[in-house]
Every structure is written in C-alpha cells, then in structure tokens.
C-alpha cells in the first residue's frame, strides 16, 4: 500500500518554469521557496492575495497558516514562530502596517528574524484601499519609537517579488533583523511572466544556533551578531523587549548596557550595508539628468529614458532596490561618475525619499522632486520627461 506523503515539495505544486503571475502571488511563491513555513495575517487590500495564497498552499508543504484577529497579533505570532525556529512572514498594507509598528519594534529589540510585506496603498488612514502610492517609505524606516535600523526592499517586477522575498529571508536571518518588503499596489497587482526556479537551486542562508552554552544569545559588536538560540533546545533563553544584556537579563538601569545594545542594533545594519545594499544603474552615457526612482515609478522612469532619447535628452537612472539602509556612497559615486547637472526624484507621495537623496547629494548636485498624489493615477513616463525638461530649462 502506498502511504500518502506528509507534505509536498514546492516544485510539486509549481514545477520549475515560466508562469503568468500576479506580483503578490509571485511573492508568496518566493516565500515558500525560501522555506517560509508559518504565516499569520489579517485581511487587507491590496495585500490579501498573499495571505489567500498562503492559506491554500502552506498546509500542503507542511507549514501553518493562521488568520489572526488583527495586525497586532499577526506580527506577534510570526515573532513567536520565528523563535520556535520556523521562517515566518506576514503581509499587510498601510493601516495594518501602522498597527504592526509595535511588533516591528519588538522584533528589532529582540533581534528576531521576520519578513513583513507592506503593499503600499494610498493614505493617510483608510485612504484609497485599491490605489497605489509610495507614502510608507518613511514609516518603514522611522515608524517605531526609539533608535533602530531595519532593512527595506522595493521590488518593481513580479519576478522580483519572488526573488527579493528569498533575499529578504536570508537578510533577516543573517542580521537577525526584520526585513520589510515594500512594493506599491501596482507591483503587487500587476501580472507578468515569472520564472519559478528549481527549489534545489534556491540559496538559503540561515541563522546559526549557539555552539556552546557560553555563547551570547543577543547583541554583538555591530559586525558580529550573536547566534539565534531558538526555543525548546535547552538554551534557557530570556527574550525581552526591555533593555537586556547578552544573555537576555533585563538591565534597565544600566547606561552602559543600554548604550551597547542600541548601538549594536543600529550598527549591525549600518556597518554591513555594503553587503546588504542592492541597486541598479541604467540609462545613457554623458547624461545631463539623473533620475532616482524605485518601485512602480522605476518602470515609468525607464520609459522616460526612451522618450528623452527621442527628444535628444540624455538621462541616467539610479534605482535603489534596497531603500534602507540608503545607498549613500553608491549614490554619490553615481552623481560624480555621471556628472549630471541635476537629479530628479519622481515619487507617488508629497516628497519622502527625495529628502534622503537631498541629504546625500546636496553638496554635489541639485535635487528636484516630482511628487504626485495620484489618487489612483500613477506617474506616467510623459510626466517624468515633461518635468525633466522643466528642470533643464531652469538649470
């Protein structure tokens, strides 16, 4: 008698090959390929396809899906699962992302590897549930109280929804830090051809467990990060969101312990940013204008380069794939190497990431913001090239 398999492989469900997939679905498959075996979430447009997908497929690959009572509990449940040694993810959008800030801060403080997806919709508040925006860029970086760093990735294609999700799990494990995947609604909902890889070829870099009882459970010197002592293995772990020493004991009255902990939490991202940051440079040589664009706006910016070419305007394009930590040195080098007269930052918000670009480039080149509160209309390539022409006239 043939016994039934206790679980299936991801490639049993999705054999390697090319598929037409929605961005959110591609992201969910990326999570399955990355060994994500726990998902807790709460329904919210425009991210719900991710949880719907996980509800259907996670049980088949031996994972656990649970729909929680709210976003506060969703993020806390994945933190619990991560401590139990299982890769875990949640997905949400603006209003839910606001609620999850609480849990994100706890994950930062307890050095818990988790992956959180925020498919950006138009805010503030309930705003426009089905419309795209890039208004959560600063919230992703600064949304919690206290000093901290997290890693934020901005995919622009359905394929990247899959690829960057695998990357997100590896980064979360490597640096014991929450990783936020931050597509906008357009990237979440667009359908494109996606190549699903053979799962054996997927790179998984996982946390290591402590080798001896003496090894610290938390902290480090910013570069070296303590191993991840998961629950139930006899480590007698003390996990706490309060200030703690390297064995987890609460030390809330000790200035030195607090200072060391906070600088470690910040420096483990800052000092490793060369290894973390991903970006792309494209466009023309001898360009006059440099565009900096991410997410779905990057797609419009690519077309704007073509439009510029037809009109004899040479444009170079810098695309931060890792929004945070921001690519400071790389961006400065881009401005210097291309020698552009001006930088234009088109964004679907009232001017957010442009503040970071200005901070980085202000001594090198003037930075202009093209901001659009679209209310449902994306930024078009024509709008970008129109604004570029205005800038050229003004420079």
């Amino acid at each position: 008698m043939k016994t039934m398999a206790t679980s299936l492989k991801v490639n049993d469900l999705f054999p390697p090959g090319r598929y037409l997939l929605m961005g959110n679905e591609a992201l969910a498959i990326g999570a399955l390929l990355a060994d994500c075996r726990f998902f807790a979430g709460y329904p919210i447009t425009p991210s719900s396809e991710i949880m719907n997908f996980m509800a259907k497929y996670l049980p088949l690959v031996g994972g656990t899906f649970i729909q929680m009572e709210d976003e506060l509990s969703s993020i806390m449940a994945i933190i619990g699962a991560s401590w139990a040694g299982v890769r875990a993810m949640t997905a949400t959008s603006g209003p839910g992302f606001s609620l999850m800030q609480e849990g994100l801060g706890y994950a930062v403080m307890t050095e818990t590897p988790i992956v959180l997806v925020d498919v950006m919709r138009a805010g503030p508040s309930t705003g426009q549930a089905t419309k795209s925006a890039q208004g959560d860029v600063m919230q992703a970086r600064w949304g919690r109280h206290g000093d901290q760093e997290v890693i934020v990735l901005a995919p622009a294609f359905a394929q990247e929804m899959l690829d960057l999700t695998i990357e997100a799990f590896n980064l979360a494990d490597l640096y014991r830090v929450p990783v936020i995947i931050l597509p906008d609604e357009i990237v979440g909902h667009l359908e494109e051809v996606v190549e699903i890889p053979n799962e054996k070829s997927v790179t998984k870099v996982k946390c290591r467990e402590p080798k001896t009882p003496e090894e610290p459970h938390f902290g480090g010197d910013g570069i070296n990060i303590a191993p991840f002592p998961t629950l139930g293995k006899g480590y007698n772990v003390l996990v706490t969101g309060s200030t703690h020493d390297e064995k987890g004991y609460r030390k809330t009255q000790d200035p030195l312990v607090h200072r060391k902990l906070v600088w470690h939490l910040v420096n483990k991202v800052r000092k490793n940013k060369d290894k973390i940051i991903k970006y792309e440079v494209s466009g023309e040589d001898n360009a006059r204008i440099g565009l900096v664009a991410y997410g779905s706006v990057y797609r419009a910016a690519r077309e704007a380069i073509e439009l510029g070419r037809e009109e004899g305007i040479k444009i170079a394009l810098f695309r931060p794939i890792t929004l945070w930590p921001s690519p400071e040195e790389i961006l400065r080098k881009f401005a210097e190497d291309t020698g552009v007269d001006a930088i234009v930052v088109p964004e679907m918000n009232t001017g957010m990431y442009v503040l970071e670009i200005e901070r980085i480039l202000k001594d090198i080149v003037p930075v202009y913001a093209l901001n659009k509160i679209g209310g449902g209309e994306p930024i078009s390539p024509e709008e970008i090239i129109g604004y570029v022409k205005k800038v050229i006239r003004g420079v």
């Binding site: 049980p59 506060l72 933190i79 619990g80 007698n236 996990v239």
Partner: protein, 278 residues
Amino acid sequence: MASQTHPLDKYLRTEVFPHVMCPGCGNMSIANAFLRAVDKVYGSFEKFVFVSGIGCAAWIPSPHFKADTVHTLHGRPIPVAMGIKLANPALNVVVISGDGDLVAIGGNHLLHAARRNADLLVIMVNNFNYGMTGGQLAPTTPSGAVTITTPYGNPEHALDVSKIVAEAGANYVARWTILHQIQLERSFIKALQMEGFRFIEVLSPCTSRYVPRNFGNLKNILDFFKKNTIDIQSAKRKGTIGDKILVGEFVIRDRPGLLRSIQLLREKALRQWEGKRK
C-alpha cells in the same frame, strides 16, 4: 553556614533571587503552586516555554523560571505563544500575565485564543488593578473601588473574565484565590495534561496599591477572599451566590485543540491534492 536550598530550586534562576515582588504580593505563592504541579507531572522544565506580557505577573517567569521565557509586549503574550506552539507543537507553552495585560490591552487576543481553543495554558493573576504603574483602574476593578485613576470610586463594572473565557470556548477554566493553594495546584496538574485552551484565574492581593486603598491591610483582603468566595459546587446546592465571588472549575471540555484541528485539515488538503493529481 550551610547554603539554603529549596526542593523547587532546580526550576529557578536562583542567581536572580531575592525577587523584586512586594512583601505580601501573591505572585510567588502562585509560582510555588505551579512549580509543585510541574514537578509532580513532568519533573523538569524540558520543552516548556513561558510567555508573558508587561506587568508584575509577567515577571513571575521572566527571569525567575529556569526555562525558555519570552517577555513580550504589553497585551501580546497570547499571540506570541500561539506562534510558538503552532510552529513547534512539541513545546509546552504557558502564558503567565496579569489582568490588565490579558483583559484590557490584550482582551481581544484572549477572547479569540479561547474561541480557537488554542493549545495554551494561560495563568492570569488578577490583582484588580495595574500594580506596576501605580495602581490604576483595570477591567477587573470592582464597582466603587478606589484606584489612583478612580480616586472617588470606580464608576464602571468589572468583567467576569473566567465566565467569558468559558463561554468563548476554552477547554478548561478555573478560578481560585491565592489561599486555595491545594485546589490551585490540582487545577495546574489537571490543566497541564489537557489539550486546547486552558485558563486559570488567580485572585491575588496587590499589597502596595490596591490593598491599602481598599482593604487597609493584607489580612483584610485575605479575610475577604475567605468569606466572600463561594465554590461552584456549594453555589449549585444553595442555588444562589449572593454578592460572593464564584471560585472553582467553570468548565471542563474535551474539544479538539487548534493544533489537532489544523493537522486534520492539513491531511485533508493533502488527500485532495493527491486526488486531483490522479
């Protein structure tokens, strides 16, 4: 002088003692009853994980228990505990926290974990107020009681937490006071061996905040616990509880826990998938 040891020392991080609970606080006598129960049922903390929120009761396991302890955010121990248990069913997950943590800020999680029959043992220390922050009003503060935020008396009504958790679908619910050491230990022993959601509420004196404002001294509240509680069995015989607080076992059920339900559906999902492929 020979060093003093206690038979339950192996469950404690003795290096953090003496503990920081106030003199007369009920927290450590609850811990004592719980540890006696664990010692009788398991004899060790192997595979135990303790999850707590924010507040005095949350400090019972963290850092005192020599086990994996997760000290979480205010109100959120139950979702963290659910994530741990669902991700690793081999672990024995116990939540220990206070009434403010579990019923006010975390009330929604408590209600839904009971509804789901999540496989957790939740121990709620009910001291009728927020002790750690100075003695503010809690959802469990009786009407008329004085707290620092109800200086003229509480205008609201208290929630009967055990009743609600029992109604919501828990497999086991019991309420005792810290004076019911034997009954409490028996409840822990029983609950530790059950599946599904198990909830044990323990009425406990907050000797720094609630007791001085409402009872004068510790003896008075302990007398109140003795005189003003009535066991569910005797209440049934009498047919009335008057203005007394009901103690005892509110519900004992044998419904499948959330884990078992999920596992059954996982098998069904696989069968459906295999069927489709043929």
